[in-house]
Point group: C2
Chain length 149, copies 2
């Protein structure tokens, strides 16, 4: 009667959710993107129970999304930072943020704005594009068996 695993699904969405499909897990990743690196930093920011935080951090490290390294060699204090695999969640996080901007806060009420460092301009809305670069919607896309089907 343990919580059902999603690994049985032959589906990348399910596999992804098995790893990051938890409120705290994704918020930890968000904080990591913003620059939080310490246990107490995450704890202060999120207000999550410490046992839950410890569990989620270990989970993220086990799945190679966060790196855990001693702050200085041979010392019992650690720094958490995103791996390449973790940084690859950037479009997922930004897409979620933009959805909340639009559908929860509404245009003009976004709490945070993601900008291009170079120009200082806000980033574009994340969209699904065709090979030629045209925006696609659920209506103009279909699902075919992949190579690993």
């Amino acid at each position: 009667m343990t919580r059902t695993s999603l690994t049985k699904f032959k589906c990348s969405v399910a596999q992804t959710l098995e790893i990051i499909g938890d409120k705290w897990t994704m918020l930890i990743i968000r904080d990591a993107f913003v620059g939080v690196t310490t246990f107490s930093g995450f704890q202060r920011n999120l207000g999550v129970a410490r046992n839950v935080l410890a569990d989620r951090l270990a989970h993220l490290v086990a799945h190679d999304i966060l790196d855990r390294t001693p702050t200085r060699p041979g010392i019992e204090r650690h720094t958490y930072s995103l791996t390449e695999k973790g940084r690859a969640l950037f479009p997922v996080m930004i897409a979620m943020m933009q959805w909340g901007d639009t559908w929860i806060y509404g245009a003009g009420h976004e709490p945070v704005c993601v900008v291009d460092k170079d120009s200082g301009m806000p980033v574009r809305p994340v969209t699904v594009l065709s090979e030629k670069g045209h925006p696609l919607s659920p209506d103009t896309t279909a699902y075919a068996p992949g190579q690993g089907y």
Copy 2:
């Protein structure tokens, strides 16, 4: 001691997770994108407990992500379908799927391929783009206060 609410955070990621940040919720949405419309359809596909499914469907309807309409007028059988707000989660779902394709299954082993109906070609990887259309990464972006700060 109810499960902590994320609504206190002034953050679109947290607000989004408060609504869809649950394994089953996001899988229901995925199924809805693929065309599942009935209670038993979701149940068969996901193998989720019926009480949990009932709870999550009600939650999604309450948040205007799914519509629940009688299959025929005056009848006790319902059809669930994505609202505009629900369909707006398309980039989030595709970004998750692509992350799993790359980092869990690996290139060449994707179980499902999303294609442009017109051309039959796979869609592009979802990326964060600058105003001028250049791909951006966590390193080349920054977070500024938004208009609703």
